[in-house]
Symmetry: C2
Subunit: 95 residues, 2 copies
């Protein structure tokens, strides 16, 4: 299997088909909600959606499926764009 040298920090590469996974944790539901809303807007704007989003009051687990046969630059850029929502929204999250 190819190495994944540029895997975005805190994202985990997983399985077959290949996916990227990250868990985001927040202090309050209002921040979880703001992140989910920003993520929905990003998805609509970029015409790309995570394969799965799993959330509760203070966490959001995001799974991105590889666009190609393996994880590549486009997938990592999408992951980083999602990370960027934390900064853009000034969302206090726990790493």
């Amino acid at each position: 299997m190819d190495r994944l040298p540029d895997l975005p920090e805190r994202w985990e590469g997983r399985g077959t088909p290949p996916t990227l996974f990250r868990r985001f944790e927040f202090s309050r539901y209002s921040e979880t909600r703001a992140f989910l809303d920003a993520l929905a807007a990003l998805a609509e704007h970029s015409a790309r959606h995570p394969q799965n989003i799993n959330f509760g009051a203070t966490y959001v687990n995001v799974t991105i499926e590889a666009l190609g046969t393996g994880l590549g630059t486009e997938d990592y850029e999408f992951a980083r764009a999602i990370d960027g929502l934390l900064t853009a929204g000034n969302l206090a999250h726990k790493d």
Copy 2:
């Protein structure tokens, strides 16, 4: 274990701690999105949130945790209120 005579149709009672689970399937992401938005508004309005929401482009899995030690009327009413969003939003869903 107690019977659950009034379990809302299509909801499944599960496990310990007791939860209610239902999967909603939609034809298009836009309907999934409308349902998620309505569900967030309901949760904020009723100050009650599902324990977990797991969704992809065309499905939403909802898990409600019992308010008390077992599933009861309040839980079923919350489940029915969620069902009601389909009708209120005129959302075409697959049963």
